[in-house]
Amino acid sequence: MIRTAGEHGLLVETGSLEASHRLDAALRAERPEEVVEIVPGPETVLVVAPGADRERLRARLSSLTDQVREGAGMTDGPVVTIPVVYDGADLESVAGLAGLPVEEVIARHTGRELVVGWLGFAPGFAYLTGLDPVLHMPRLDTPRTSVPAGSVAVAGPYSAVYPAASPGGWRLLGRTSTPVWDVSADPPSLFRPGMRVRFEPA
């Protein structure tokens, strides 16, 4: 289903994050004229195209969506490795909540390849999906007023690296010196939707 999001936007329901990533990649590979924004989400892709022929764009998106629903996962991209110093303020409490020793929390966090789901909350803030379910944690009851840039954290079913210092309620496992956000770089974000990510002990 393709929903209307105002005069310039179409919201494509893809049904899954994988299909969102495939539609996003297909649209970026062959970007229809007038398309300004392509914003993948867990079950949708928003396409913003002021001045586009809407019916033509709708038809194009519809046929692309049918194709990507049947496609395989995107497993051919490069894997970004993020070295982490596991000394976060919440490492002990996460271990307590998970009922695991700290070493096992680290092993579980580094043991799986994660996928960049989408970005939001702040520029360069990526929701990394595929986290070991034992590390799925509620957010802190009281968010911190400032979390340093490079903090590696978990909340809900996601992990993330704070791209810049900001307030935050995620549980901090450690920190990385790999910059994930740099306004002088092109693209400014290390993480893009669909990219594969692996954490490793620094």
């Binding site: 005069e7 936007g9 867990p42 939001g120 520029p123 929701y127 893009r192």
Partner: protein
């Protein structure tokens, strides 16, 4: 160089923002009432997308270290300078601007444009993410660029206030609300609240009732989206809106009416309509 003696209640540098980066979590930002910034730029012979100053409730005082052609558009100011026509400010003069007669945001363009350092291709202050220059403060120095092109227009009669009516297209999530909710949204006026800003116009009025419980997975948000948080009090997204969000959007304000929303003041009444 232009020296900010006093910025008024809130003033920022704005151009047309950072489109194309929403998938990296970057709001578009840019002038909240973009047609007014474009007009002010045209009046001083600038390309429409050069950076100017967005004043909120006017009241700014600016000292011009160098002489310049300047134009104002958007919310018309009660005193200090003419609207809708370029005027000459001599070197060393201080421009003292009054409050707007109606509307909220006034745009000051200077021939050559404001040339603060761009971030990701734009000089706009993004109040949500913090990208771009800090909001203006007393003492802020604004460099002015070299003029390009010629001044060709010498008068653009400023338009009067447009009625506070926002035309909406239902969706994308009107099915998350009780049947007839978009018509219900249009039935009675809403009041603009004090906590409105460049992110959105926050409204108070009849509760927009949801039909579906639970959480909507995060999805892309568009300019002009009327988002309904659990309180049932709608928010109309402006230039600094978050690129993604998890509250359902009942309708989207037509592009031509977004500048009307951007000129609403706290306390103003506004209506939605499905007509037009």
């Amino acid at each position: 160089m232009i020296e900010v003696v006093a910025p008024g209640p809130y003033a920022t540098v704005q151009d047309l923002g950072r489109p194309g980066l929403a998938h990296l979590g970057v709001p578009c930002s840019g002038a909240a009432d973009a047609p007014s910034l474009r007009l002010a730029n045209r009046l001083v012979g600038n390309p429409e997308g050069l950076a100017g100053v967005e004043l909120t409730f006017g009241m700014a005082r600016l000292r011009f270290h160098d002489a310049a052609w300047v134009a104002l558009a958007g919310a018309p100011l009660a005193s200090g300078a003419d609207m809708g026509a370029p005027f000459w400010v001599p070197a060393g003069a201080e421009l003292r601007l009054g409050p707007p007669v109606w509307g909220l945001r006034t745009y000051l363009a200077v021939r050559g444009g404001i040339e603060v350092e761009p971030v990701l291709g734009s000089r706009s202050t993004d109040s949500l993410s913090g990208l771009g220059p800090a909001p203006l403060r007393p003492g802020t120095l604004l460099p002015v660029g070299r003029p390009l092109g010629e001044i060709s227009a010498d008068l653009a009669p400023p338009p009067g206030p447009r009625p506070a009516v926002l035309r909406i297209l239902p969706g994308p999530r009107d099915d998350w609300f009780a049947p007839g909710a978009p018509a219900g949204l249009c039935a009675r006026p809403y009041t603009v609240t004090q906590d409105s800003n460049r992110v959105g116009v926050r409204l108070r009025g009849p509760e927009v009732v949801r039909a579906r419980r639970g959480e909507l997975p995060s999805e892309g948000m568009v300019l002009g989206a009327v988002q309904v948080p659990p309180s049932g009090q709608p928010i109309v997204f402006l230039a600094d809106h978050p690129p993604t969000g998890g509250y359902p959007v009942i309708g989207v304000v037509r592009a031509a009416d977004v500048p009307v929303a951007a000129q609403l003041r706290p306390g103003d009444e506004v209506r939605f309509t499905l007509r037009g």
